[in-house]
């Protein structure tokens, strides 16, 4: 097969057995790879209603279709499973180069099933795979695990692993690869921990077959050329993702003090320039990335001086900084390093801490119930302590490790109003009251409250259109224009293809769908034009939605926290604004071809997308 290696590994951890399986080409054509292919396997193999941390849940790693090739940023892999944080479909993608090395080892992906009796790790070396005892690594964090595994196996192995947070089943634990890159969202690291799978070390030199090498190279070269002169790429390379902080803040949409306001008064202390001045060593990039939005960094002063790592990213600064009301950039950077080493999602960790700070402010949690801790907004020392406690599930950290939805269920007293999650997934650092359409995207994203499923923050907060869809313009971000619900649908579909292809979504800003279709067509030899590009994204998106419907999700779940729906922003350019989500929902379902009452994809839509085999599963018992 061209593009893909055509094979996956199936690892039964209960029995310690490893099987090799072929990927049918017809399946690959429909779902490409990465998130698409993995979601197809998950839909087919996971029974609805199972415990995400139990043996029945599958944990699937899958590299993208173009991952490992010479296409720009072809670095990514996806982890797909059922989330312990949200209890629905989970996907998390990561860059670096681990996904590339997995593919070069001879396999596109790995399906883990069951639970190992003892801690284990998987080694794949040029198509040979073996499970080994990981007892010595259990209890160790990501940096140490990686170091020890490389010492044992050789430097040429690349490692993806969990840290202590994953072992302790923190509901938003991440899987880390290349030390600093995270498959962060939805608690995929907790699923890995539940299986007692500590790490996966890969190495290989298997070649990816390309259908038309010359044509492929020509298209890829052109893409690099276009990106080389793109102002958007330059912005990301110069400032990293923290480029965005000022842009969001001037729109009044930078969630501050757990979303009590959208204006952060100390933004210049935590923005891209502050990062460059305070901690930047040099920009770093994922495999084959011409942009290099990553930051190699070092803390130079204060109590954490001498600590080194990568980051922080925009989301870390938004959550640990503005949301927690902390302007100490060194502390924010330290929190980021800690999350990477413990294997924690920075968005959920930072948001959960901001949430508990507000609970403390309101007296919903007290010093006594917090194990003697005073959890004030703006206290960076407390914030750092809480990161340790969450990862170790120590004291109040045990509660915090459950995420905002479960904490609010336990604490009550109105805290659910400002538990800032959708479907259980903590929201990223963009206040949707400052750009209305982004609220729709939060509400409908298949994995829960997420920005990167349909990055409509691009055309709104950043005033930056995405070329990968025909029309991504939002006329007035503060108005609810029902027609613009289509932008969310189109972006969701297009960016789904990026996850399936294994390309970074930032490339969707500068290159259009024709350019991406040409890459896939020349790589695989398939007839793959813009129409196929769009349809494939829509097919995968609907399959994921169907998975969620099968788990019991309905229209009522496509909503936002009460704070966004009912509490007007108190100041700034978006003063007085709330999300009138209902204005968008009906048009969105209409554009999607979903039933407006139930939120289910209609049988006609599923048939149109070539998914008729799943109709019975989501319309069970119905006429």
């Amino acid at each position: 097969m061209f593009g893909l290696m055509g094979k996956i590994l199936r690892v039964n951890l209960t029995e310690g057995k490893i099987l090799k399986e072929e990927i049918p080409e017809e399946m690959a054509k429909k779902f490409l790879g990465g998130r698409g292919l993995a979601s197809k396997y998950l839909f087919d193999e996971n029974r609805p209603g199972i415990d995400p941390l139990g043996p029945e849940n599958k944990l699937i790693f899958m590299s993208g279709l173009v991952t490992g090739t010479a296409s720009p940023s072809a670095s990514r892999y996806s982890v797909v499973t059922k989330s312990p944080l949200t209890n629905i479909w989970a996907q998390s993608s990561s860059g670096g180069r681990w996904g590339v090395d997995l593919k070069h080892s001879g396999f596109d992906g790995i399906i883990f099933e069951g639970i190992s009796e003892k801690p284990v790790y998987l080694v794949i070396d040029n198509e040979k795979a073996e499970l080994r005892d990981a007892t010595d690594f259990w209890g160790k964090n990501v940096s140490e695990t990686t170091k020890l595994l490389k010492q044992k196996l050789g430097e040429t192995f690349n490692v993806a692993s969990i840290g202590i947070a994953g072992e302790n089943l923190v509901k938003y634990a991440a899987i880390m690869n290349d030390l600093h890159r995270a498959a962060g969202r939805c608690g995929v690291g907790a699923v890995m921990g539940s299986k007692r799978l500590k790490a996966i070390a890969v190495r290989g030199a298997r070649k990816i077959q390309i259908a038309d090498e010359r044509a492929f190279k020509k298209v890829a070269d052109k893409q690099f050329e276009l990106l080389g002169e793109s102002i958007l790429s330059a912005g990301l390379e110069a400032y990293g993702t923290t480029l965005v902080l000022d842009m969001v803040n001037v729109c009044g949409g930078l969630p501050t003090r757990n979303w009590q306001t959208g204006v952060c008064s100390f933004v210049e202390k935590i923005n891209g320039e502050a990062l460059s001045e305070k901690v930047l060593v040099r920009p770093v990039g994922c495999f084959a990335c011409p942009i290099k939005c990553g930051r190699d960094s070092e803390i130079r002063k204060g109590p954490y001086a001498g600590q080194k790592g990568e980051g922080p990213e925009y989301e870390t600064v938004g959550t640990f900084g503005a949301m927690c009301d902390i302007s100490d950039f060194e502390a924010i950077t330290m929190a980021h390093y800690l999350c990477n080493d413990y294997g924690l999602d920075t968005i959920s960790t930072g948001s959960t801490i901001a949430f508990i700070m507000e609970c403390f402010e309101k007296g919903i949690i007290t010093k006594e119930s917090a194990g003697g801790m005073e959890i004030y907004f703006g206290n960076s020392e407390t914030m750092i302590k809480l990161v340790h406690k969450i990862a170790k599930r120590e004291g109040v950290g045990d509660l915090l490790a459950e995420g905002t939805r479960r904490i609010a269920q336990r604490l009550g007293q109105g805290s659910e109003r400002f538990a800032m999650n959708v479907k259980g997934l903590e929201l990223p650092a963009y206040d949707s009251r400052g750009a209305k359409i982004t609220g729709l995207a939060f509400a409908t994203a298949n994995r829960g409250g997420d920005h990167i499923t349909a990055y409509v923050q691009g055309p709104t907060f950043l005033a930056t259109p995405f070329l990968v869809i025909e029309e991504s313009e939002i006329k007035d971000p503060l108005q609810e224009n029902p027609e613009e619900a289509k932008v969310v649908k189109d972006m969701e579909d297009a960016l789904t293809v990026f996850d399936a292809a294994g390309s970074c979504k930032f490339m969707g800003m500068s290159l259009d769908a024709k350019e991406w279709s040409d890459i896939i067509a020349t790589l695989t030899g398939w007839e793959f034009g813009v129409e196929e590009f769009r349809k494939t994204g829509e097919r995968i998106y609907n399959l994921e939605r169907a998975f969620n419907v099968r788990e019991g999700l309905t229209r009522a779940d496509d909503t936002l926290p009460k704070r966004l729906l009912e509490e007007p922003l108190p100041e700034g350019p978006a003063v007085g604004q709330v999300n009138k989500l209902e204005i968008f929902l009906d048009p969105y379902y209409e554009f999607r071809g979903w039933d407006k009452n139930t939120g289910k994809p209609t049988p006609e839509k599923l048939r149109e997308l070539g998914l008729k085999e799943i109709i019975n599963q989501i319309y069970k018992g119905e006429k």
């Binding site: 002169e229 102002i231 958007l232 110069a238 480029l243 000022d246 001037v250 729109c251 891209g272 950043l462």
Partner: protein, 190 residues
Amino acid sequence: MYQYGTKEWDENYAKIVEERKKSEQKPYIVGTPEWVSEFEKKIQGDERYKEIAKNWEGSVVLVLKSDPQAGLDNDIFIFIDLWHGECHSVRMVPGEAGRNGDYVLEGEYERWKRIMKKELNVVKELATRKIKLVPFEFRKAAKLTAAAQASIRLVDLSGQVSDIFPDDLESEKVKAFKALLKELKTKFGI
């Protein structure tokens, strides 16, 4: 011809602007000195621009490429002198002076027209290189991205000044417009 950069040039440019503001009717034709002067006032009075551009440093030059069919026999350089949310001045300037601006953004007249009419998004035009940063310098490109909202606000304000473009005029007026540009070229080197 008055020498750009001299007091004489400045005074006479100001004079022609004032004269034409008296003789011409609003809304002024886009690309005339009186339109440019109104544009300046718009920016100076815009609180939103002040807020979102408070970190911006440097002049921006809009280059409208010549398009004889539309009435532009030569390139037009609109020099916008900006600093931390303030707009010191907006003027039409000779090509050489325009090229010395900090951020020179060049595009076909037709593209600029559609941007000012809000039919096109200036950031998208920059991203697709229909409007070019000339010369392309990494550091400047990065700053422009970071200031995307301010760029949009600027062109929105320009669009608010007038929606009368030279190629929309009747033939008599086109002649007068061309004669004006010729006069500006001969007297001011614009």
